[in-house]
Symmetry: C2
Subunit: 147 residues, 2 copies
DNA sequence: TCCTTTTTGGTTGTACGCAATTTAATTGTA
DNA sequence: TACAATTAAATTGCGTACAACCAAAAAGGA
């Protein structure tokens, strides 16, 4: 026990969270290869499967990604013909992002992914619930203090 | 309740983990600016504060980072005079990584960081313990199945 | 209406993060 | 001792991530 104990890796909470996130995404990669999606593209498609049409601002707010990440990512999804990108007529500042038929069809192919990931993570239902709420609690605390 | 429920953002466990990791690192950034370190550089220094001297392989195993990430990162730490990089005499394949006086001195400046981050995350001791063990459980499960 | 402010996306620059490949050094073995 | 196999770093290429900055469009007052 010394004054530097708080600066050891084993006493960090953030380090295992960071590890966990990275390792999970690494495990997603081979599953998502079949869909020709990266993890970030996958959660973007997930948002669009629910909303069909949206814009950069709303996607940014939902996924906590900024335009520097989204603009090139959406262009890639457009190149794969999973979405369309068009300036809004009502407000030319907005970019309408709409899922295509091909993008919508992808949802069926993706159905096996959550189940496969669940097997990898391998927690009990109780543990999943606990973890889920703790994660959102932290995210909430972090954004709260940014006033 | 429909067949696509497992593909909604709110039913993902991985998404809040991913968010949490990103948001935490974003909060670290201003704190680490004083030390002229990024988050990944910070955990690398943390490892070296404990071990004084190591090599790329051992750092890679401890931090779950590969040489493609570590090689340029260690060169940057060397440029800041926080570490030295020298080929091992015993085995020329290994690169010895050793902390410098300046790098060691940085530890005192870093002492306030864990406390500041703790305030941002703002969980009870009990919650921290639960979360910590769940995180390592997942990381363990994920690496277990890679046989 | 003119003009300031705000909002929305895009661009640029820096730093990961990892898969795949390469090179050099060492080890194991016939 | 040759030589194949293994190991450790480095390199390359692609895809995030985000801060900082920019430009165009819209909103809101005086």
């Amino acid at each position: 026990m010394n004054k530097y104990d708080s600066l050891t890796l084993k006493n960090q909470l953030c380090f295992p969270i960071y590890l966990c996130s990275k390792e999970i995404i690494r495990r997603y990669t081979p599953l998502l290869d079949d869909l020709d999606l990266t993890y970030t593209q996958y959660i973007t498609m997930m948002y669009l499967w629910e909303h069909n049409t949206s814009n950069v601002k709303d996607i940014s707010d939902a996924l906590f990604l900024d335009s520097g990440t989204l603009t090139p990512l959406l262009k890639k999804l457009e190149a794969k013909d999973y979405i369309t990108r068009t300036r809004s007529l009502k407000d030319e500042r907005n970019l309408d992002v709409t899922i295509t038929k091909k993008g919508l069809a992808l949802r069926d192919k993706a159905l096996s992914v959550p189940c496969e990931m669940g097997k990898c993570i391998n927690l009990s239902e109780e543990e999943v619930k606990t973890l889920y709420s703790l994660m959102y609690k932290i995210v909430g605390n972090l954004s709260k203090e940014e006033e």
